[in-house]
């Protein structure tokens, strides 16, 4: 079935397009875009026409950092539930991290994820394979093998690559296969025992602190190694001012480094933890107001290329326990879009800047042909009602995770239609 989407505000940062018009989807691809498209009466029977007056039509959103928990922790999330959440959140593509059970450190697990996504998924899934076997930080995975099986990047996410030597070698070796290394930048020694950001709030709550330096020293190390090796580096979930500053400097030197942050780092601060609510426990931790402002500046000047959710579903068994034993992580797929739009409403970003950070920018980092409305490209698109005002309600989410820190937040802007490769994956 073809689709004719009429009268939407079409925002396609990759093609510098921001105009009201019509989009024709045919055979799973973007067939045409113009201020006015007509279909002849002979085709009308095979075309669904939707009037999208007042709505925005953007490329299907891409989340380059999610945890789908399958295989291994299906009680927390499955590829089916996680991708259903993605589609409801406007995402047509997600990149899933390898810290599953077993770890995605070989072609067989990569293929398993892709097959499950094919069978049960509601959006495209791009597996990220581990840097090291079983995430142990000792021996590299077979990079060519996982790449050929479909992995789009390498990361030991969930933990850092503590060995500088392994990081150096991985950057070098992976460059042969054109895969980026995604760094979860955390010095485990500096972060040891930490429960939240180190500072006045942690001191008063009596919680062990994690200094911003635990992240920034690893960002600096990895930028230096990327410069030396020429390898492609991507910094995950940037949370603090120091990291932004270091990445900015590295980019100015021409280092091949990109970076993402997550909505919670430009929306929440450490002050959220005053009641010891474990829903706000995340790694890296929520930081200070000064860090939050620096993250926004990094988004504005392009130091931070992408916004990714770090969607990390947990059940009450991991979260509804003592603070120091509770798991880190928040779900994000079904709350990300309205939080990103808050950066428009407060004037931080333009619509094109904001949309680019969840479409064409992550696509470029992962070297994927998505995130654009280029004619002939796969018809991934998301329709947003920018004026809808509503309350985020975790009970309505598709994700199995119980850990949404934005439950109850009043927001503006909602996904009304998600189309992946020409198929309607979600509609409201």
């Amino acid at each position: 079935m073809d689709l004719l989407l009429r009268n939407a505000r079409v925002i396609d940062p990759a093609n510098d397009r921001d105009q009201t018009g019509d989009v024709l989807v045919s055979a799973g691809r973007i067939a045409d875009i113009a201020p006015r498209l007509e279909v002849g009466p002979e085709r009308l029977a095979s075309v669904t026409v939707l009037d999208l007056t007042g709505n925005w039509l953007v490329p299907g959103l891409i989340d380059m950092h999610v945890h789908l928990r399958e295989p291994g922790d299906e009680y927390k999330e499955t590829i089916a539930s996680g991708t259903a959440a993605a589609a409801a959140g406007g995402f047509t593509t997600v990149a899933c991290m390898p810290n599953t059970k077993p770890v995605n450190d070989c072609a067989a697990v990569t293929q398993f994820i892709l097959r499950r996504a094919e069978e049960t998924g509601s959006c495209r899934v791009l597996p990220v394979a581990a840097v090291s076997r079983n995430l142990e930080g000792r021996q590299m995975v077979e990079v060519g093998d996982v790449r050929d099986a479909g992995a789009v990047a390498l990361s030991d996410d969930g933990r850092p690559v503590m060995s500088a030597q392994l990081m150096r070698r991985a950057l070098e070796y992976a460059s042969r296969f054109d895969l980026p290394i995604i760094s979860h930048a955390e010095d485990l020694e500096l972060a040891r025992g930490g429960q939240m950001n180190e500072g006045a709030v942690a001191t008063q709550l009596g919680l062990h602190g994690i200094p911003t330096a635990a992240e920034a020293v690893m960002v600096a190390r990895d930028c230096l190694l990327a410069e030396w090796t020429g390898g492609r580096l991507h910094i995950a979930h940037v949370s603090c001012a120091d990291s932004v500053r270091i990445i900015r400097t590295a980019k100015a030197r021409g280092v091949s480094v990109s970076a993402e942050t997550a909505p919670h780092y430009f929306t929440l601060t450490e002050d959220a933890l005053v009641d010891y609510d474990t829903v706000y426990k995340v790694n890296p931790p929520l930081r200070s107001r000064k860090d939050l402002e620096a993250i926004k500046e990094g988004l504005v000047d392009g130091t931070l290329d992408a916004i990714a959710t770090d969607h990390a579903p947990h059940s009450s068994v991991e979260k509804d326990i003592e603070f120091d034993a509770a798991a880190n992580g928040m779900i994000g797929l079904e709350s990300a879009l309205p939080l990103i739009l808050e950066l428009l409403w407060d004037g931080t970003l333009t619509p094109a800047q904001a949309i680019a950070k969840v479409t064409v920018q992550p696509a470029r980092i992962l070297r994927q042909p998505y995130g654009t409305l280029t004619i002939g490209a796969p018809a991934d698109l998301t329709v947003i009602d920018p004026d809808a005002r509503y309350t985020l309600d975790q009970a309505s989410f598709r994700s199995k995770g119980c850990n949404c820190p934005f439950h109850g937040r009043e927001v503006r802007g909602r996904v009304v239609l998600t189309v992946g490769a020409g198929r309607v994956r979600f509609s409201r």
Binding site: G199, G206, D275, Y276, D324
Partner: protein
């Protein structure tokens, strides 16, 4: 003054008037503890559950004695610290205990914030008997009572707290409480044991004990855990004792009426010398005695409140 709180979780959110009311109530209970038969029927028919999820001797006994002298029925639940026992989470256990309709929980837990989270889920009163590195309000209250007994007042006093401030719930509760009652507080210790941005709690910070001794009316000495050496916080206990251990020599320039306090148990020869701990300035045993009276006052005020509303 009526006491309207459901719980006693920390000194941070208490008002000066409430603190004074607790201290006055505690002072009035002291007499019971000197009788031949140390028991009154005030809390007969009330059920108090002691949840001790961290090793403790003196605080636990102090609370048990306080409850029994007021004729409450007391029960104890305690395990080694473990969030999951037989597949049941800590909060599952509490839900079951809650279903047995206790009137008050006394909780000690190694994880900061656990009493606060318990209090939000139960209609019973909750007393924090020490949570992680966060607060230990009954200890601060008994310390305040002890200072008041000896000095007659708290406002205008200069109080030093020396030792492992970073890991100390006693220090935090005392900083809040002393500030509210008008004392000047100086925290002292090596930079590794002073937490980040401590000054924002309204306290001065010093790294030289000898510099502050002459100003002090009270010196609270904190217990130093031996593990701090392995955590890269200190080179050795020996060097700690050299710079921060409280000895008669270090107190040479002190005011004659300086009070020495310690929440116990003490490491003789590490944070405090035996001479000082057992000497004329020490009020360490008065603290322990006052602990029972303060805990009786807390039980009475929290459970009495319920009676008024019923």
């Amino acid at each position: 003054m009526t006491f309207t709180r459901k719980d006693l979780l920390g000194m941070r959110d208490m008002e000066a008037g409430e603190i004074r009311h607790i201290l006055n109530t505690a002072a009035s209970f002291r007499e019971i503890n000197t009788r031949a038969i140390k028991k009154v029927p005030t809390l007969r028919g009330k059920t108090v559950i002691h949840l001790f999820y961290e090793p403790s001797t003196r605080t636990r006994i102090s609370f048990e004695i306080a409850a029994k002298r007021l004729s409450a029925d007391t029960y104890s639940v305690g395990t080694s610290t473990s969030s999951m026992v037989k597949g049941e989470t800590f909060f599952d256990t509490l839900k079951n205990l809650e279903a047995m309709k206790p009137d008050l929980f006394v909780i000690r837990h190694s994880a900061s914030g656990t009493p606060q989270r318990l209090a939000r889920r139960t209609s019973a009163a909750v007393i924090n008997a020490g949570d992680g590195m966060h607060e230990h309000p009954s200890q601060a209250l008994l310390d305040l009572l002890t200072i008041q007994d000896h000095k007659g007042h708290l406002d205008g006093l200069t109080v030093g707290i020396v030792g492992d401030i970073a890991h100390s719930r006693v220090a935090r509760s005392n900083i809040w409480g002393l500030n509210k009652l008008g004392s000047r507080v100086i925290a002292c210790g090596p930079p590794t044991l002073i937490p980040h941005d401590l000054q924002q709690m309204g306290v001065e910070v010093s790294h030289r004990l000898e510099d502050l001794v002459p100003d002090l009316d009270v010196l609270m000495v904190l217990r130093l855990q031996k593990e701090r050496q392995e955590q890269m916080l200190l080179p050795s206990l020996r060097e700690y004792a050299t710079y921060f251990g409280v000895t008669e020599a270090k107190l040479a320039g002190a005011k004659p009426e300086l009070l020495i306090m310690h929440p116990g148990p003490i490491n003789r020869g590490v944070e405090i010398s035996s001479e000082v701990a057992d000497g004329g300035r020490s009020v360490i045993l008065d603290q322990v005695t006052n602990g029972v009276a303060v805990r009786m006052a807390l039980l009475y005020l929290l459970l009495h409140r319920e009676e008024e509303t019923a």
